[in-house]
């Protein structure tokens, strides 16, 4: 099971500002290992962010998002105490969901 994400969500004015760091190799499929064999592609394909049941961001990723991906975005409609839930699925079907409580501004 993949390692947990680090999510920071706080209020900036009337918006929720989210910074998330995900633990993922994001292998491009072009790297060769020690024995010269190609390491198969292994990367997050879909990311979904919800808050109080509403999708506030969704993304499709390719192999050129950096290893241990980072995202920073802002949305309206959340307040301190609400939860921001972030889920990802990768090309091998592995998934991970983590959440964070929105801190006050």
């Amino acid at each position: 099971m993949a390692e947990p994400m680090r999510i920071r969500a706080n209020m900036t004015g009337d918006k929720v500002e989210v910074r998330v760091l995900m633990a993922h190799e994001m292998e491009t499929g072009q790297r060769k290992d020690g024995s010269g064999k190609l390491v198969p592609a292994h990367f997050i394909q879909n990311v979904t962010v919800t808050c109080t049941g509403r999708t506030v961001l969704s993304a499709q990723w390719g192999t050129s998002i950096s290893k241990n991906p980072f995202m920073h975005f802002r949305f309206k409609g959340g307040k301190p105490g609400d939860k921001v839930t972030i889920s990802w699925v990768d090309n091998k079907g592995e998934r991970r969901t983590d959440e964070a409580v929105i801190a006050g501004g």
């Binding site: 390692e3 947990p4 680090r6 910074r19 998330v20 760091l21 633990a23 190799e25 292998e27 790297r31 290992d33 390491v39 950096s66 290893k67 241990n68 980072f70 920073h72």
Partner: protein
Amino acid sequence: MPSPRLAALLIAAALPCAGLAQQDTQKEVERYRQLLAEGNPADLFEAKGEELWKARRGPKNASLEQCDLGLGAGVVKGAFAHLPRYFADTDRVQDMESRIVTCMVTLQGFTPEQAMKNPFSAPGRPSDMEALASYVAGESKGMKLDTPLAHPKEVEAFRVGEQLFYRRAGPHDFACVSCHGDNGKRIRLQDLPKLTDPNDAQKIFTTWPAYRVSQGSVRTMQHRLYDCYWQMRHPQLDYASEASIALEVFMAKYANGGEIRAPGLKR
């Protein structure tokens, strides 16, 4: 005398900035580093390290929570700021990583070989030590480095480290001082701190361990030294060896007073 090609590289790097172009490049590289600063992947390692610190592991099924990192058993906060230092129970000077190894052996029952089996991660093969080091170092973030140099063995380690720092060897006739002995040197875009100048040392030494984007992992001071030795084509520097710790004691003396900003973020 370093090989002619290397000497030329170093000399060229030491010449004062030739024109605006060089300064612009430097500014842009600074900007690159600044933009990277938010969301340091080292956070992931710190979190993992804390988890490992508190997990019951090894033949003794114990956690590392009673580890004495120099401030007493169970005290992690601030301990990194005073390492390396002499420890009475092992009767030697130890740095953070060797002390974590000691605790893994005495508290958790691992053999030294098991504890030091995988100090440096590779893709798909994470290293517990990198996570543990990130956690322990992070618990001293914001504090000033303050390593002791009083016990006879600490002083001896300093002198050994000093010898190693200046002693040229290997096929390139290099020593640490070859790259780190002057202000304003750089290799391509990488600035080289003068490690015996507190101005440089205080700012740079305290950013280790750090997430290195080129390595895709947190790297520790032990790795930095191991890598330098490899680059100098010196014999392999053994993990957590007396020589490596002696070099850390030497460097720490000039870095004392610097603010600990580990785990840092580097190229």
